[in-house]
Amino acid sequence: MNVKIKENMESEKLISLFNKDLCLFHLRSRKKFSILREMAHHLAKMGRVSDEDLIMEMLKNRESLGSTGLGKGVAFPHGKSLAIKKLTILFGKSVSGIDFESLDGKPTHIFFLILAPSNREAETYLELLSDLLTLVKNPEKLKKLHEVKDFSSLKVLFGGMET
């Protein structure tokens, strides 16, 4: 298959996992765990998680394994829980940036929170993580990622059609 077509298909698949209601462009929290709580709370409010505290417990444990802030201002908090119903991705942006104990020590602005149900083997988050990392490794896309301000600019970034 033509490489360009294949790339487009992958971006389309990726953007289809994002939901406008699960994109937060103005995260307010200034601390690591409070920003995770802000995102988990939003997912609970949207009916995506059955128990916000269980999600927080899992995310905190994941961070104690090693920060999911991979540097360049982007973090990928992730994990599996019985409290999540289906593979879910929340996009979050903190305009001012926060200390997320990232690997390069710089403030984190962009969050891809990825949650997978623990009882469904097929819904793994690894492939999704890998696709997102490919995007972030592209300097041009990374620059654009830091500039996104609404859902349509996020869609454009992923190569989807602007709506």
């Binding site: 059955s50 128990d51 505290d53 269980l54 417990e57 899992m58 444990n61 994941r62 104690s64 394994l65 090693g66 920060s67 999911t68 991979l70 540097g71 990928f76 994990g79 599996k80 829980s81 019985l82 409290a83 690997l103 623990s118 009882n119 690894l126 993580l129 890998s130 990392l133």
Partner: protein, 114 residues
């Protein structure tokens, strides 16, 4: 959801995380993506602390089930056990259960009402 069920679910989430990190191919994949996975000891300590919150009899049942099943505790969300997919007897639903955790008669998994 009652206390023991919540702690058990948190414990199971943590066990899944630990088993993923101990799985060489998953750990390799995550490391190649750039994730640091140096805090396994912290996770094991968190597990010990969490296990202490659960009544010993229930914890013991979970530990025995967890040897055989990755998912030992599940919510009841229909008329089937989500672990073995065998229909639960109607008596499960005819009265409000007085126990916190119900046992699937087919597979033995622990079921809770979410």
């Amino acid at each position: 959801m009652k206390k023991n069920s919540r702690f058990l679910i948190a414990l199971q989430d943590l066990d899944i995380m630990i088993s993923e990190i101990k799985d060489k191919s998953t750990a390799k994949e995550l490391k190649e993506m750039g994730f640091e996975l140096s805090g396994l000891k912290e996770l094991e300590n968190a597990r010990l602390e969490l296990a202490e919150q659960i009544s010993p009899a229930i914890l013991n049942r979970y530990e025995k089930l967890a040897v055989h099943y990755k998912i030992a505790i599940l919510p009841i969300t229909g008329d089937k056990c989500l672990g073995c997919f065998v229909r639960l007897p109607t008596s499960f639903f005819s009265s409000t259960p007085t126990v916190e955790l119900i046992t699937c008669e087919n597979c033995g998994r622990m079921l809770y009402i979410p």
